[in-house]
Amino acid sequence: MATTIRLQREAFDAAAEAARMTHGRGEVGAVVTFTGLCRGEENGEPIVALMLEHYPGMAEAEIARHVEEARARWPLLGVTVVHRFGRIVPGEAIVLVATASRHRHAAFAAAAFLMDYLKTRAPFWKQVETAAGEVWVEAKAADDAAAERWSAPPRREAAK
C-alpha cells in the first residue's frame, strides 16, 4: 500500500497528492480526499491567521499509528496525510487526508476515521490571531464524540 505522511510548513496541492497516490495503479477504483481549510472566523469573530504548533516526532508517530489502524480495518490501497504547521491564513489548506481503495465504502470510511482521530489524538494545537490578540482554540466535545464513534461498542453484560 502506498502510504505518505508528511508534516510541513508549506502549502500543498491536494489534487497532485491524490494523483501521485494512484498514478499507474489500475486496481484503484475509489479515491476520497478531504481538505481542511482555515476559516476566516472563530466563534463569530474574524481572524487574521491560525498558528499551528505541533510535537515533532510524536505527531508523525501518532498519525502513522492511526494509518496502520485504518489499514487493519479497511482494504486500502493508498493513504496520504499531509498536515501543515506554522502560520496559516484564512482560505489556505491546513490538512489533507486522501484514501484509495477498490471500492468507495472503504475509502470514505477510512478518510472519516483518520480525520476524526487527527482532530483529537494528533499532537497539534491551534492558536487564532485576531485584531485583539492571540487565543488558543479550545478542544470541542463534538470532536471527541466523533472520534469515540469508531471505538468498538461496549460488550453487553450477559443476561442474568
Binding site: Y55, L118, K119, F124
Partner: protein, 83 residues
C-alpha cells in the same frame, strides 16, 4: 528525564523543555504534575487544573496514572486541536 511543554502549558511554564530529576516518590504522571506545580508560581499556574492536561511518555499518549519510571521524554499539553 526530559520534559516538553506545548501550547498554553509551554506559555505558562515559560519554557519549551527542560531536564528534571524528580525524587523517587514521584511515580506517576499525576504525581509528577503535583510535584511540578510546587516548583514555582509559573508551574502552579500551568498545572492548576491537572485534569485538563494531557501527557505523553516517549511520544505515546498516556493516562495520569501511568508510571514514569524509565521514561526518557515526558510531554505535557492541552487537549489537541489539530486537523
Amino acid at each position: 528525564m526530559k520534559l516538553l511543554y506545548f501550547a498554553w502549558v509551554r506559555e505558562r511554564v515559560g519554557k519549551a523543555e527542560e531536564q528534571i530529576d524528580p525524587p523517587a516518590g514521584v511515580a506517576t504522571i499525576a504525581e509528577l504534575m503535583a510535584w511540578l506545580a510546587r516548583r514555582g508560581e509559573e508551574y502552579a499556574y500551568a498545572f492548576e487544573n491537572p485534569k485538563v492536561i494531557r501527557a505523553a511518555i516517549d511520544r505515546g499518549h498516556v493516562r495520569a496514572d501511568a508510571p514514569i519510571r524509565g521514561a526518557r521524554e515526558i510531554a505535557f499539553f492541552p487537549p489537541m486541536t489539530g486537523g
